[in-house]
Amino acid sequence: MARLIKTEKEVEGRYSEQWVVVEEDALEQWPEGPLRTVGRPATRVDGLARARGEARYTQDIQLPGMLHAAVLRSPHARARVKQIDLTPASELAGVRGAVGPGELDVLTDEPNYEGEAVAAVVADTADHARAALEEISIEWEVLEPLLDVDQALARESFLSDPKLYERGDIERGFAEADVVVEAEYRTQSVLHNALETHQTICEWEGETVNVYTSTQWLWGVRDEVAAAFDLPKDKVRVICRFMGGGFGAKGSAGDYTMIAAELARRTGRPVHCRLDRREENVNSGNRNPTIQKLRLGARSDGILTALSADYVCLLGWDGWLPPTAGPVQMLYACDNVRTVEYGVRLNSPPMDAFRAPGFVEGTFGLECALDELAAKLDLDPLELRRRNHADHDPLDERPFSGKQLMECYRRAEPHWERRHEVHARADGPWKHGVGIATQLWYGGGGPPSYAWVRLAGDGTATVLTAMQDIGTGTRTAMAQIAAEELGLPVERVTVELGDTAHGPYAVVSGGSSTTPSMGPAVRAAAGDVARQIREIAAQRFDVEERVLSLAEGKVINADGGSWLLEEITGLLEDGQILGKGARGPNPAGMRVMTYGIQVAEVAVDVETGEVVVERIYAVHDIGRVINPLGAESQIEGGIIQAIGHSLSEQRLLDPRSGKVLTRTLDAYKLPTIADVPEIVSELVDVPDAHLTNLGSKGLGEPPIVPTAAAIANAIRDATGADVRSLPITREEMLGALHEADERRRVPERVGAAPA
């Protein structure tokens, strides 16, 4: 019987209550350690299709009669359209339609940031469409943009009410402290720059609209389009079989989808609306900049007595306040904590989720400040972290569902010990150092998420679920899970995903939630099929069901003997055995998080300010690991993005006009292969005993969280300089070195002065 219960759901730190239907006979977790398929390295099931250039991304789809849209975006950070006439554009040869403000919700005549959509045209080719934009007659009244953060704070220009959090007595905490550290940290805006830009093709078929889109969440796009066009939800079919990267910025439909849908409706032809790279760098989301004022107090033995943090998050015109204070609130046991977060609204392009939003920024400040504290206490930074380990969730004393952070610390120890030999590498202006930083993040996933499995007469299985693989390898992980449960080699499992018409509802690929949400559903569906196979085999061969198990493509009788799976499924010829599975609830009254620590080794040229990251060691706890090979790639990818964020990437805004200056991949510096250090990684790989039938958490985000702080701490170790602002450009580095020199000189002068 289906049982209805209420459970807590979390996506990127945002909690909500969720009704969920629970199956009575949930599967027991598999034993710890590598199994036949799960826990062993698997190459990607779609690797060949991608490497051979056969995988069709949204950008590769050409539908018969397809038209192309281009969007007129505001060139001003704040302005009013005094007059607009689309006719000169509409009348051009090859132009098939145009849409302006007032005709579609995503188009405005009062833009509040550069790049906000004002109008769109659709034409036979993308070139025609872009050329037609130039012919739109438009008269602007340019208004003064709000860009200065101090002005915005004074005016209380907030997107939401400032968020205050307090526990204990912060003043008492500081009074009890023997040592106090106080510092300001700043993080910059960085841009996602997935290589496939944001884009959608829409095509109407009667009352249904087919939406081919590069997305992290098919079902979110479905719901948004259905609401915008007043359609029953399943009259919107969303398709994304291969997706060229998202990193958080492709979680919603976007103006381009609405424009494509409307222009397709008007013209009766498929319409492709694709952002070009320059639009992508202005208008497709960003990691919001932060200004962080931190104050930490500790007793002389290192025990934290007070943590206080003010965060000013420059969100832009829209978006939401990410959980920037999360690390200060949750990473360490501390009785007295006070945080305030301000979500400042400015006339700059809206932020969007970017791989562990909030925690990347908040961890940078906290973990740098902690090392400054360790220096003042003359205490080993790793030991300081151990002494303040949180055994329970400090927010509400809930137990953590599974936490192997102390084991991560243990494994990191020998890498941290390398610092003595690393220091000895100092050569001329090049100084070498080692730094650490701890990480926690969410990643438990949750319901609702469903999967179906069908087993064919030839003994091959197909997993159907309308999830997406955004490049993280979830297609492969799901194949492994189904293969494990069915006792099949992974080659005999196909995973069909990426189409809301072909499979049940699935979770967003964000918040490190895909594997922990979908994996248990896939296992449950495969388990449903496995149970039926045992039942059928028991009848066919007149044995007891309880003695039967599935392995190596066979049904195995514990009393001796086995049958090929096909001997059973083959009886059905083209008949299929169908299974269904749902993601169960998260453990009640527990906090599900992911953990880890990274150790960075850097070299700094103290004359030029050049910083080279030479080695990163990473160890993370995400519960059970499904695919160690794919997991290693996720860790490397997160670290490499973090190196970009730490050293080279920065969206620059013109402070007067609010225009984005870094619009190309020439101006905006992504890491290249030549910037990659040695990366050594491992995973603790102990299943979270309380979490679902799988015990797995997500890994998409954890690896990007601690890297920047580890690098900054390594720089301090190498040079004595405190870098407190990202990115650590040469200018920033030289400034920090200069400050460190000044600090060293002041005591000398004091000492030299005559009494």
């Binding site: 190459t43 990607r44 779609d46 690797g47 060949l48 299709a49 991608r50 490497a51 051979r52 250039g53 056969e54 995988a55 069709r56 991304y57 950008q59 590769d60 050409q62 996602h192 720059n193 997935a194 290589l195 496939e196 830009t197 291969f242 997706m243 060229g244 990267g245 990193f247 070009d276 790279r277 955004i470 490049g471 993280t472 390898g473 090979l629 794919g630 290693e632 790639s633 490397e636 990818g637 997160g638 670290i639 490499i640 993005q641 190309t664 991949l665 020439d666 992504l670 890491p671 290249t672 292969i673 030549a674 990659v676 990366i679």
Partner: protein, 151 residues
């Protein structure tokens, strides 16, 4: 304006206006969509193809400048050992940059059968990968080089 091309050993003759890029012809006119466009202005390497074995950025190569040089795209390299090596090393994540990476890497190996780490990094630095598969790309290239390398 008529243009004659040899692509992956096949001869093509088609109409292309002045100003049409090689990438547009490949993708839009010939349906060879393995060549990707990620920036469209020569900054990222996703559109890399070879002209007479030399990697070029097809998004900023005008098709009428190709002349009689042989065009090789990822579709012409599907049986190259690098393809399998990329899969084995897990050098694809989202995979959008992967065809361009393989096209560049195959030109490298053709010119230098056993490149050093530095030579790989130098040759591959123009091919961006936002997912961060770089360590695996390096491993994949070394694997093929270890096998005797390239063509």
């Amino acid at each position: 304006m008529v243009v004659e091309l040899t692509i992956n050993g096949n001869a093509y003759e088609l109409e292309a206006p002045v100003g049409r890029t090689l990438a547009e012809v490949l993708r839009l006119d010939l349906g060879l969509t393995g060549t990707k466009i990620a920036c469209g202005e020569g900054h990222c390497g996703a559109c890399t193809v070879q002209l007479d074995g030399v990697p070029v950025l097809s998004c900023i190569t005008l098709v009428h400048t190709v002349g009689d040089r042989e065009v090789t795209t990822i579709e012409g390299l599907r049986e190259h050992p690098l393809v399998e090596a990329f899969v084995e090393a897990d050098a694809t994540q989202c995979g959008f940059c992967t065809p361009g990476q393989i096209v560049t890497a195959s030109a490298l190996l053709a010119a230098n059968a056993s490149p050093s780490d530095d030579e790989i990094r130098h040759a591959m630095a123009g091919n961006l990968c936002r997912c961060g598969t770089y360590p695996k790309i390096e491993r994949a290239i070394h694997t093929v080089a270890g096998d005797g390398g390239g063509s």
